[in-house]
């Protein structure tokens, strides 16, 4: 087990949460809910788990990250900025004309991204292809893929789930941000997924269920995934949509809505602990 500085991660995670609400407020649109729910998953990846070099974004040995739920790009952009891939000041150009921070990720606009995404259900296939390439070219990098839970309704995800297990891609780690909400409401009401971990296991994956806001559990799950040989691992992270901003928490309406100026202030107060939380 690697030693991680959880206090430090929590500190960065707080800044990332603040970035997400600031960015979406500045843009006047965007997706705060599903960005806030995966903050711990992503902060742990970029500041603890992944081997990467922000000063050398195309370093061949880097671990790869694929954001399949492209709408959560405020989260990815923030984590990348905090890691040093781009200036933090640039974050508020999100969704604006000529910004490298497109409304959904574009790797041509921001070359430090591995790939473009935004049409749901496609990231795991890309992840598998990269993982196959790693094995074929004798490289040891791992490939991580963040998916939303609603996204798992796309059939391609399960095609890719079959492929990863068939080709025994133990260098693949799928993350499911299981916040239980999608645009039209509760995932279980819109198109039920349960029992989710059992589904992945039935597809011959190793599946780990965790509290996606507990850094200890998140980090342990990443270690367990890395130690699992012969099959890919899915980390099913139970999360709260909008986590960290009380009025956004568990509210489907905050999937794709930006906070107003007053809401932004309340959100920041809560994130930095000045409010009534």
């Amino acid at each position: 087990m690697v030693n991680y500085d959880i206090m430090k991660l929590a500190e960065i995670g707080r800044e990332v949460r603040a970035d997400i609400v600031r960015m979406t407020a500045a843009a006047g649109s965007g997706h705060p809910g599903g960005s806030l729910s995966a903050v711990e998953l992503m902060t742990a990846l970029y500041f603890g788990v992944m081997s990467h070099r922000p000063a050398e974004p195309k370093w061949p040995g880097r671990d790869r990250f694929i954001l399949s739920k492209g709408h959560a790009c405020p989260l990815l952009y923030s984590v990348m900025a905090r890691a040093g891939y781009l200036p933090v000041a640039e974050l508020t150009t999100l969704r604006k004309l000529d910004s490298c921070l497109q409304g959904h990720p574009s790797c041509l606009a921001l070359p430090a991204l591995e790939v473009s995404s935004g049409s749901l259900g496609q990231g795991l296939s890309i992840t598998n292809g990269l993982a196959l390439a790693a094995k074929l070219t004798g490289q040891g990098y791992r490939v991580y893929c963040l998916m939303g839970d609603g996204e798992l309704q796309e059939g391609q995800v399960w095609e890719a789930a079959m492929s990863a297990a068939h080709y025994k891609l133990d260098n693949v780690c799928a993350l499911v941000d299981y916040n239980g909400l999608q645009i039209d409401g509760d995932v279980e009401n819109v198109m039920g997924l349960a029992p989710l971990a059992e589904k992945w296991r039935a597809f011959n994956w190793h599946a780990v269920e965790i509290d996606g806001h507990d850094y200890g559990q998140v980090l342990a799950a990443y270690d367990e995934a890395a130690a699992t040989k012969g099959k890919p691992t899915a980390i099913i992270a139970k999360t709260v949509k909008g986590k960290g901003v009380s009025f956004m928490e568990n509210a489907a309406g905050w999937h794709g809505k930006a906070p107003s100026g007053e809401e932004l202030q309340r959100a920041l107060d809560e994130i930095y602990g000045k409010g009534a939380r």
Binding site: S116, I126, N128, L132, A160
Partner: protein, 315 residues
């Protein structure tokens, strides 16, 4: 003419074998049609670089995208209807939007698929692929050109769609003929009108050329193997020098080669144009020859279209 008969899919198979030996970065994927698409030739020779993805075209394209990101040159292979139609959004958003170096082989292009019927006859693939930014679209006219096109696809960067056909058709080009992506080949000189064709129907264009010549009409024949980027200079030269154009393709009239040629002409030099192709309908079962007659894709149809544009040109 007494030519050798080979399907263009064989040219794909041979092209992959050449690439496999020459370039360790070339990998091939198929979606359970490897025997039919000839990708099984590569699989037999280079098993460690072949991935059968099962009957899952969307996943195949995404996996190919990942392989390309990992520095390899993937050829994703299946029937044109399934890859261009079913996996269109994957090709658009994952492959083209990121300008990834993914090659896509759409086999069983055109109505000459025959007995399998409409579900398996790709008649919309050129239109679906041509409309995508970054995409190159190549439709080889015979097996020799198909091999060259396959090898050429690996040499250019970016997304490339290759269309191959199931049926054996005459080999009308030579190994030594120049093949350059984006450069049309003039197969017959002529000044009265020009036939611009792609794919195995180019052979029908040559037959039309011969029949018209017997009537004293000299038509130019252009093999427009690359539908995108279109050789606009060759199209405009043909319009300026011959004053009338006929396009011919085994594809819907909407959105295919005829559309591409017309787009260039209306913007630059409108001349009389007639299009030979499938007229906004689905195909059906039958022999390739029966279907070519029923859907108006024979040398006789092309020659009639030339007569029509000549009448308009002179009128």
């Amino acid at each position: 003419m007494g030519e050798k008969m080979l399907p263009t899919r064989d040219g794909y198979g041979h092209g992959l074998l050449t690439l496999g030996a020459a370039n360790p970065k070339v990998v091939v994927l198929d979606a359970d049609l490897a025997k039919s698409t000839r990708s099984d030739w590569f699989a037999a020779k280079f098993p460690e670089r072949f991935f059968d993805m099962g009957i899952a075209e969307q996943d195949m394209i995404g996996t190919a995208a990942g392989l390309a990101l990992g520095g390899l040159i993937p050829f994703a292979t299946t029937y044109g209807v399934f890859v261009a139609g079913r996996a269109w959004d994957q090709i658009r958003t994952t492959v083209c939007y990121a300008d990834l170096n993914v090659k896509i082989a759409g086999n069983h292009g055109g109505i000459s698929v025959g007995a399998d019927g409409a579900t398996h006859q790709a008649l919309e693939d050129i239109a679906l692929m041509r409309v995508l930014p970054k995409m190159t679209v190549i439709v080889p006219c015979d097996a020799v050109e198909a091999k060259k096109a396959t090898i050429a696809a690996a040499e250019i960067h970016g997304p490339c769609f290759l269309r191959f056909a199931r049926e054996a058709t005459p080999v009308l080009t030579d190994e030594g003929d120049l093949f350059a992506v984006g450069k049309a080949n003039v197969l017959r000189a002529g000044t009265d009108a020009t036939i611009i064709a792609c794919g195995p129907i180019v052979h029908e264009a040559l037959l039309a050329h011969a029949a018209l010549k017997a009537k004293g009409i000299n038509v130019r024949v252009l093999n427009m193997h690359t539908v995108k980027p279109l050789d606009e200079a060759a199209v405009l030269r043909a319009a300026a020098e011959t004053g009338a154009i006929v396009t011919a393709e085994e594809h819907q009239l909407y959105g295919g080669l005829g559309g591409a040629v017309a787009e260039v002409l209306v913007r630059n030099k409108p001349v009389p144009v007639a299009m030979v192709g499938v007229r906004d309908t689905f195909g059906e079962s039958g022999t390739p020859e029966e279907l070519a007659v029923r859907y108006g894709l024979t040398a006789r149809d092309i020659a009639a279209a030339v007569d029509e544009v000549l009448a308009r040109k002179q009128g």
